[in-house]
Structures are given as structure tokens and as C-alpha cells.
């Protein structure tokens, strides 16, 4: 199985050149650290930024340059600043190619329920619902959740298709049967389902039960 950085690494590898990508809070934010070299990929943040670069060096933070997670960021050449109406026109109008979100649960049809966690004291939706409704490809990074609600480290790359969930890749050391056992919804195994190719540092030492 993968550690958090491993999840981010695997997702980053999947992004094609020319992607315009919104990164959610948590694991998705880490994706920015693993973007493939030499590809033009633009990162968007709800608060009016397109073209974010890596985190600034300590002491080089700019008070007015943060992402939607309230972390300081830098800008890459060719980026732009704009206001919230424009930022969400870009989201809702279908101009982003990818949104990478965290979610506490994904149903078999891809519906997400990430705006009100059971047990949260205060509900909140932020920009996640606009992203879920507006972006062509919504990818969800999550720690795999059993039907008992216990979090697991990440196990698999799963596509949401009109025919249900399709298992495309399993994390190193995990077999498809294990993934299905930890997944409430039924999985179909893709004909070319294979083990992920990720550097060893991204593989967690063992499956924590």
C-alpha cells in the first residue's frame, strides 16, 4: 500500500500535459510537489490563482499569496490572479480539466459526500461542490475506508465508470481480492489491472489493519 506522498505521486503521474488542475486540501495539496518535470501543468486555487508553483522557501512567503488551504504558495511564469466570480466561472464553466479532491466517502456512482462528515460539529462545503459539479475529471484521493469506517492507507487506483467501479491498479504488495474485501461497493477488475509502479519510498511498510 502507499503512504500519503505515494498517493500524491501516483496521481501526479496521471496528469497529462496541458492539464488545468484544482488541488483540494490535504493529500491533494501534496500533488503539487510531484508534478512531472517538463510538462506544462497549471494548478488552480479557488481564491483566484492559476499557475501556482511550489511552496516558498522559509522567509520568502508573501502575505498575499496563499492557496485555498491557506498555505503560502509561489507563482510559475504565465500564471494569473483574478477574483472569485472569475475563479468559479472557470470551475463551473467546465474550463478546468481535473479536480483532485479529498473525500471521506465515494459511492459507486462517484457521488461524493465531502461537505458534511458524520460527527462534524459544523458543516461546511467550501468550493468542493462547485468542483464536483463543474469539472470534467474529478479524482478523489482518500485513505481507503472499510465499511466499518476505519481508515486504511491507500490501496488502489479505481475508475468510476457508468458501469460502476473499475480496479485499474493495486498498490505494491496488495492483491485485488484484498482491495475488494476493504471496499463496500462491488469492483470490476480491469483486464489490464496491474501493480502500481512507484518508487519504494512511497510504499508503506505494511497494511495497518
Amino acid at each position: 500500500m502507499l503512504n500519503r506522498d505515494g498517493i500524491a505521486y501516483r496521481v501526479a503521474c496521471e496528469l497529462p500535459e496541458g492539464s488545468y488542475v484544482n488541488l483540494g486540501i490535504g493529500i491533494p495539496t501534496l500533488v503539487g510537489d510531484y508534478l512531472p518535470q517538463g510538462k506544462d501543468i497549471f494548478l488552480h486555487s479557488e481564491n483566484g490563482i492559476l499557475g501556482m508553483g511550489p511552496a516558498p522557501a522559509p522567509g520568502k512567503e508573501d502575505i498575499d499569496c496563499i492557496n485555498a488551504g491557506k498555505q503560502y504558495v509561489t507563482m510559475l511564469p504565465g500564471g494569473s490572479f483574478f477574483d472569485h466570480p472569475t475563479s468559479f466561472s472557470l470551475i463551473r464553466g467546465g474550463h478546468l480539466t481535473h479536480a483532485i479532491l479529498g473525500a471521506f466517502e465515494v459511492a459507486a456512482n462517484g457521488d461524493m459526500a465531502n461537505w458534511r462528515s458524520p460527527g462534524d460539529k459544523v458543516p461546511g462545503v467550501g468550493g468542493a461542490m462547485d468542483l464536483a459539479f463543474g469539472v470534467k475529471n474529478v479524482w478523489v484521493t482518500m485513505t481507503h475506508v472499510t465499511n466499518k469506517g476505519k481508515p486504511k492507507t491507500d490501496l488502489a487506483l479505481i475508475d468510476v465508470t457508468p458501469d460502476g467501479l473499475v480496479l485499474r491498479e493495486v498498490a505494491p504488495g496488495i492483491d485485488p481480492a484484498t482491495v475488494q474485501a476493504k471496499t463496500e461497493a462491488p469492483l470490476r477488475i480491469a483486464p489490464d489491472c496491474r501493480e502500481m509502479n512507484v518508487p519504494a519510498k512511497f510504499v508503506a511498510s505494511q497494511l495497518t489493519a
Binding site: 517538463g38 497549471f42 492559476l50 504565465g78 494569473s80 490572479f81 468559479f88 472557470l90 464553466g93 474550463h95
Partner: protein, 233 residues
């Protein structure tokens, strides 16, 4: 590497098909994509649906396209400007369908499409001849009518600066309809005065972020639209 630049206007209009819906930017000369329009005249697609503030003037640019008999429908706010003969003659003969939209409603319908909205209620035009057939309701004690988003297959505009990533800036009154039009078409193209290396446009100065733009062509302005010089910034 993303490279949205094209060498010629000819390439930029090559995929326009018979019956296509095309947004044309500009209000008066500023922002009017004169060179793309001439390339479109050469290209030959017909039965076009044009969305623009006016109906064209004289016998070049949109006036030329009208004169060539290539337009089947015009959605605009003010086709009655002097110099619109090419349009007026065909309109009077019943050869062109005309949809008149108040100017602010036209801009907002285009924005609504680009912003992924399903339409809006506006007080403009309520109770007038232009409201006929439109849904109407009272909102905050005032009559409003429902207006729908306006999409296009192509949007052509003139901008000031552009880069290979599609970022655009506009000089002075060039922004007009061009900013929302770049967001509302399947294929959006800007002809520009200056093509700059990526990163040369300050992120705070970008008027249309590159994500909205498909192609950028650097080309001198149409001679008819460059009658006077640029003076200031």
C-alpha cells in the same frame, strides 16, 4: 510544452464549418478581430450564426461577410448603425434572421454561458416588446425576465498582448465583449498585437487567463481598423 500560437489566421479559422455559431468581439474598432474576419471570408464557411454587438460596417470585416451572403442569423444589440448597408439590404429582403438583445443582456448571456450558469433574471426589457415570449416574474417588487446563456462554436477577438499559454491583455476599450466571449465558445481565438514570452505578462495584469483561450495569432491590425495611431499605453 503548451503552445497555443498559430502562425496564420488561415489556420485559426480552418475548422469553421457551415452553420457554425461564431462570437465576434469588439465594440467599434477596438477589439474587433479584423484579420480573422478576412481569413474567415476566404475560408468560405456559410450559413453562419454571428453574435456581435452590431451588424458590421462598410464592405470589409463583418460588413464584408454580410455582403458575401454568408450570414443566416445575427444576434446583436445595435444593427442600425449607419454604414450597415450590407446587412440592412439582406435583412430587408428577409435573408437574415435578426435577434435583438439589449447590450447588457447580451454581455451577461455570454458571461453566463462561460460561467457554467443556466441563465438569469434581469429587469432590462421587462414589459417591452423584447420581453415577448419570455418567462417573467416579480423579484423584490420588480418585474424581471428570464434570459438564457449564449454559447458559441467559435469566438474570435482582437487582443493587445498574448503568450503561448493563451494569456491575454487588452488596451483601453478593447476589453468590451472580448473578455466574456473567450469563455463561452468551444474554440476561442485571439489575434494579438504582440506575442510575448510566457511569464512576461504580470499575473496581476492578465485580463483573460490562458485556460479560456485555445489559439493566439500575432498579426498586424486590419488596415481599415488602424486608421489612427496608438498614442498612450
Amino acid at each position: 510544452m503548451i503552445d497555443k500560437t498559430l502562425k496564420t489566421c488561415k489556420e485559426a479559422v480552418a475548422s469553421v464549418f457551415d452553420g457554425a455559431c461564431i462570437m465576434l468581439g469588439g465594440f467599434g474598432d477596438p477589439g474587433l478581430p479584423g484579420m480573422l474576419l478576412e481569413a474567415l471570408r476566404e475560408q468560405g464557411a456559410k450559413n453562419l450564426w454571428i453574435i456581435h454587438n452590431g451588424a458590421g460596417q462598410g464592405d470589409s470585416c463583418l460588413g464584408g461577410l454580410m455582403g458575401d451572403g454568408r450570414v443566416r442569423k445575427l444576434t446583436c444589440s445595435f444593427p442600425s448603425h449607419p454604414g450597415n448597408q450590407a446587412f440592412a439590404e439582406r435583412y430587408m429582403r428577409g435573408e437574415i434572421e435578426l435577434e435583438i438583445v439589449p447590450q447588457g443582456t447580451l454581455a451577461e448571456r455570454i458571461r453566463s454561458a462561460g460561467a457554467g450558469l443556466g441563465g438569469f433574471f434581469t429587469p432590462t426589457g421587462a414589459g417591452t416588446e423584447l420581453a415577448k415570449g419570455k418567462e417573467s416574474r416579480m423579484i423584490n417588487g420588480r418585474e424581471h425576465i428570464f434570459e438564457t446563456p449564449l454559447f458559441a462554436d467559435f469566438a474570435f477577438v482582437r487582443a493587445y498582448q498574448g503568450d503561448r499559454l493563451g494569456n491575454l491583455t487588452f488596451r483601453m476599450a478593447m476589453r468590451n465583449f472580448n473578455v466574456p466571449m473567450m469563455t463561452a465558445a468551444k474554440v476561442s481565438v485571439a489575434e494579438v498585437d504582440e506575442l510575448l514570452p510566457a511569464g512576461q505578462i504580470d499575473p496581476a495584469d492578465v485580463h483573460v487567463p490562458g485556460i479560456f483561450v485555445d489559439h493566439v495569432v500575432q498579426v498586424a491590425r486590419h488596415p481599415v481598423l488602424a486608421a489612427v495611431q496608438k498614442v498612450g499605453r
